[in-house]
């Protein structure tokens, strides 16, 4: 089956619908009309640019270009994790912990998937590596950001309890243990829910895309299962690493709770 080409004027029709929505929301004073249009414009510009970058990358297909692209994606994801936290660790730790845990989990799982499971030749073939890594990073980013935000926010709220537990002689990881588990759970639950609902409530985007592009559904399903598993594993380990490192950083070498290492709440 041939993929039907989409012309720009056809996309323009869809854009008109977005503008219509913006007009309606402006009339009903929802206050989102402006940000809706800005976001839509960003989508067009960002995706067009990434399309150009991917076309260039696919023609070159050198390991160091793929690596550079991956690094850029990682740094953007790291910045995003930091921006999504209300109370964040000062001195670059919020960025560092988020980025490092995403790097460790997403990159390991992606490389493992490419070399051991999918096995394109060479293993870093950008047509496989970049989309796979992109999906991994996108989901791991959400998990890590959610869990770190949950951790720092709950520690901030429950500092009296944590300190009282420290006063009774508990180790730092005992004193913060409940909150740490809660934070890890909150980072992992979205992907677990996504797996549980896959195919019943929602048709996953990647699978839909593959089917639209002409793949037989049975193959698309296999890829989707693989991607869901790797996303879950990447998000799970990334979340656990980030919360473990983040909670350690909230205590010093004397096992004191150091809320002065968190920045104040953004207004």
């Amino acid at each position: 089956m041939e993929v039907i080409d989409l012309a720009w004027w056809q996309l323009g029709l869809a854009a008109l619908l977005v503008i219509a929505l913006a007009g309606c929301s402006a009339m009903s004073q929802l206050g989102v009309g402006r940000s809706l249009l800005i976001a839509a414009t960003r989508t067009v510009i960002q995706l067009t640019l990434i399309g150009l970058v991917l076309e260039a990358l696919f023609t070159v297909a050198h390991l160091h270009w793929v690596a550079l692209m991956s690094l850029a994606m990682l740094l953007v994801a790291g910045r995003e994790v930091m921006a999504r936290q209300k109370h964040r660790l000062k001195g670059g730790w919020a960025f560092g912990i988020g980025t490092l845990s995403m790097f460790v989990s997403s990159f390991t799982v992606t490389v493992l998937t490419l070399t051991v499971i999918v096995g394109p030749e060479p293993w870093y073939t950008p047509q496989y590596a970049i989309p796979l890594l992109g999906m991994m990073l996108g989901n791991t980013m959400t998990g890590v950001a959610l869990s770190l935000d949950r951790l720092t926010d709950s520690v901030w709220r429950q500092r009296a309890v944590i300190e009282n537990r420290l006063m009774l002689g508990q180790r730092w990881h005992e004193a913060v243990g409940d909150l740490r588990r809660e934070a890890m759970r909150s980072g992992m639950i979205p992907t677990i829910n996504a797996m549980a609902a896959a195919g019943v409530v929602s048709l996953p985007g990647m699978m839909t895309g593959q089917i639209l592009a002409g793949s037989p559904p049975s193959l698309a399903v296999k890829y989707q299962i693989l991607v869901m598993f790797t996303i879950t594993v990447g998000t799970g380990f990334g979340t656990m690493a980030a919360v473990a490192a983040g909670s350690r950083r909230l205590f010093d070498e004397r096992e004191r709770l150091r809320l002065d290492r968190l920045s104040r709440q953004r207004q």
């Binding site: 009296a160 309890v161 300190e163 009282n164 537990r165 420290l166 006063m167 009774l168 002689g169 508990q170 180790r171 730092w172 409940d178 010093d252 070498e253 004397r254 096992e255 004191r256 709770l257």
Partner: protein, 207 residues
């Protein structure tokens, strides 16, 4: 050889308190008073090593730096005026809820025998304070840092609590630093009284 004091503070500095040095022997109750905002609570927090500060403290012959933070706090225990409860039942917060001496203490502090089964959400502030003291003692510390231990109590319970604390401190024996406002209470319980004046602690003549 002379027995070292149970707790020794060597030039502790925190906030505007500067170079506080102090020795507290086992069985001693040193009362600490001072206007609010003078840094009494922060001094106790510094001794328990809950905040960064200057100076060193010793438990007998062993310097604080040689203990892990948690091990030090297990021995030199700070009891805040408002205690926190994180499990559902009172008893879950105790290391050994079936211990005999715990039952005797419960009665002495005016609690029914089933108090350990109570829901923590139902506790009044006075009950929380007395149970907080009991919980701390149940962890068997060596030194007590008491931050206004009777602040939320009525007259009857103040009497009960003072008697029970003095007995615990005397029998074990423990060393105690007791922050208090009430001069009558200080006269009743203290073996020594220090008053915070500016940067330093000044001994008070009394009795």
């Amino acid at each position: 050889m002379k027995q070292p004091p149970l707790l020794r503070l060597d030039a502790i500095s925190i906030g505007h308190l500067h170079a506080v040095s102090l020795e507290v022997a086992a069985g001693d109750i040193v009362c600490l008073s001072g206007p609010s905002g003078s840094g009494k609570t922060r001094l106790l927090r510094a001794i328990a090593d809950l905040e960064p500060h200057g100076g060193e403290a010793w438990l007998g012959n062993i310097a604080r730096g040689d203990w892990r933070g948690s091990d030090w706090r297990h021995r030199v225990m700070l009891i805040p005026a408002d205690s926190q409860w994180w499990y559902e039942r009172v008893g879950e917060h105790f290391p050994d809820p079936r211990c005999e001496s715990l039952k005797a203490s419960l009665a002495q502090l005016g609690f029914a025998a089933d108090a350990l089964d109570w829901d923590v959400a139902q506790l009044s502030s006075g009950e929380k304070q007395r149970l907080g003291l009991l919980r701390a003692i149940a962890h068997r510390p060596k030194v007590l840092l008491l931050d206004e231990p009777t602040a939320n109590l009525d007259a009857d319970n103040i009497t009960r609590c003072e008697a029970w604390l003095r007995q615990q401190i005397c029998d074990t024996p423990l060393a105690a630093l007791w922050v208090a406002h009430d001069m009558d209470q200080i006269a009743r319980v203290a073996t020594r009284h220090l008053h915070i004046a500016g940067q330093h602690l000044e001994p008070q003549a009394w009795k």
